[in-house]
Amino acid sequence: MTSLHIKQDSLALQPQAVRERQQAAQRRKQWFYLALLGVALVAPLAVYPVFLMKLLCFALFACAFNLLLGYAGLLSFGHAAFLASGGYVTGFVLSHYTGLGTELGILAGTLASAVLGLLFGLLAIRRQGIYFAMITLALAQLVFFIFVQAPFTGGENGLQGVPRGQLFGLFDLGDNLTLYYFVLAVFVFGFAVIQRTIHSPYGQVLKAIRENEPRAISLGYNVDAHKLLAFVISAALTGLAGSTKTVVFQLASLTDAHWHMSGEVILMTLLGGVGTVFGPVVGAGVVVTLQSYLSNGPLGEWVHVILGAIFVTCVLLFRVGIVGWVLKLARRNF
């Protein structure tokens, strides 16, 4: 609460001109969001909707991951576990209780990931930095082995032919175009939750913890609770992405749980720009497009090599990412 008050006070003290400029920037931002939404609404007329849905699912996944890495400074190497649990639980619920609305199936998957996120978080926030990454990776591998052996996941085959079902008992999601607008709504919801989190006083505290943890502690913030909440939100939204993906492809498989997936989401975020709002969306777009482009071409078998090379290049030369770089250019020139 305190930080909110300070912000309002300082706003009142600012001269008229500064305030007007800020309001203008705010308006520009709103127009930008509206334009993007407009593009997203007409996009399925030009591009295959299933591809767009895949893109949106991975974009949400990367945004959720970025909430943790970009704003709380925590590198999780285990986010595949949340993507997969969301997918498996949704797949299981929709296959076994066919009368249930799709929205309830997705809700179940999201909740399952949130609970798993709580468990992971409680363990992982006990250590920092590199240990945090190793612990999340090891826990995700534990979950992977459980999925391999558990009876309800279908082992190597995964859950196939998951029915898409009906939304609120009204809309038949079997139609790709209907499903697309539903997936878009899910993405906008997830994106809005992340925006709200980042710009809330809670989000400000998260950034403070990222920048200087001992100072945040000395200011009296319960650092562990803040980190844990960020972890749970991130896990839940990742689960939401995984659940939605299962509905789109009617499939939940071990690929989602493999540590390669945890690596991919890091790459998307890094490539797009860590800690930027649209970076993960752009990064996910580039990586997903690249993957589907490569898998149809002669370079299909080199996908991992190419992803690895992008990884190395990003870390060595391009740590700001695409969106970070564009923002830097914009700041310099306007």
């Binding site: 590199i130 990454a133 991992h304 690895g308 992008i310 190395v312």
Partner: protein, 295 residues
């Protein structure tokens, strides 16, 4: 037949021996990770790839150049160590001042590249490496059969681990290394060539991984992904032991191997996951790890 907990003694001892061998690999790999982490402060995600490269040097050397096992045991660490030196000089040094997480990401990218190339070249099915003549056969100990090669793996790994421990804890070079871990700037002020020390450390860590890879070649199937899956378990071992001490890494590695072997006898379903479960328990009770120093 003697029974322990309702399990035949020979089965129990056999699994414990297999566990001890896995533990020897955990020890060698986590030792390498701990040494690299001590000085460079990064987690070497390419460690699994370097282990795999060691095994492939042995296989390819034998198939194409007729290099025998004993030469490979020397050659592979040298080659992979040299590659490690190049990686440190060419890539890791450039990001030395950045957040340490970038080191993890960079080496992760390298691992993806190397493993991807090997999958493309050799497929995923795996190659086999013949047992060296000298180490064929085994001893009948009366209560169980002890294959010579398996005994050799444990002995060789232990000797290398203890030699490394001795070098770090008891020699002058080791004292530089330990001092560099504590305070590299002060070391440099005293006229020690810290950048060279860092390069050699990374090279040595990579060489240890390659040595483990050659040891593994005759008993495990040599595949491009053999290192990646092992590495995640080794990460868990590192979290359990904490990276504060060299001896801690060795002891934890062996202990985890034994626990895994024991689990295979008592409750086989959990054999894959037991190390991770132990990690969870350790995190709950002693977050810094069994031998860890920092909180």
């Amino acid at each position: 037949m003697t029974m322990v907990f309702g399990i035949p003694l020979s089965v129990l001892l056999g699994q414990l021996l297999l566990g001890l061998i896995n533990g020897a690999f955990y020890a060698l790999l986590s030792l390498g990770l701990a040494i690299i982490f001590g000085l460079l402060r990064i987690i070497n995600f390419a460690h699994g790839a370097q282990y795999m490269l060691g095994a492939f040097v042995a296989v390819l050397g034998l198939n194409y150049l007729g290099v025998n096992y004993w030469v490979a045991l020397m050659l592979a660490p040298l080659l992979v160590g040299a590659l490690g030196v190049l990686i440190e000089r060419g890539l890791l040094r450039r990001i030395a001042g950045e957040d340490h997480l970038y080191g993890l990401l960079l080496t992760f990218g390298l691992a993806l590249i190397v493993e991807g190339c090997f999958v493309k070249l050799f497929g995923v099915s795996g190659l086999s490496y013949p047992m060296p003549e000298l180490l064929k056969g085994g001893y009948n100990l009366g209560f169980m059969f002890l294959p010579t090669y398996r005994a050799w793996v444990v002995v060789a790994a232990l000797v290398v681990c203890l030699a490394t421990w001795y070098m770090i804890e008891r020699t002058r070079l080791g004292s530089y290394l330990r001092a560099g871990t504590e305070n590299p700037k002060l070391m440099q002020a005293f006229g020690i060539n810290v950048p060279l020390l860092i390069t050699l450390t990374y090279g040595y860590g990579a060489a240890l991984a390659a040595f483990a890879g050659v040891l593994a070649a005759p008993i495990y199937s040599v595949t491009p992904t053999m290192g990646a899956n092992l590495l995640i378990v080794v990460f868990a071992v590192v979290v359990i032991g904490g990276m504060g001490s060299i001896m801690g890494a060795i002891v934890t590695g062996l202990a985890m191997g034994l626990i895994e072997g024991l689990t295979k006898v008592i409750y086989p379903e959990a054999a894959n996951t037991i190390v991770f479960l132990v990690m969870v328990l350790v995190l709950l009770m002693r977050p810094a790890g069994l031998f860890g120093k920092e909180a």
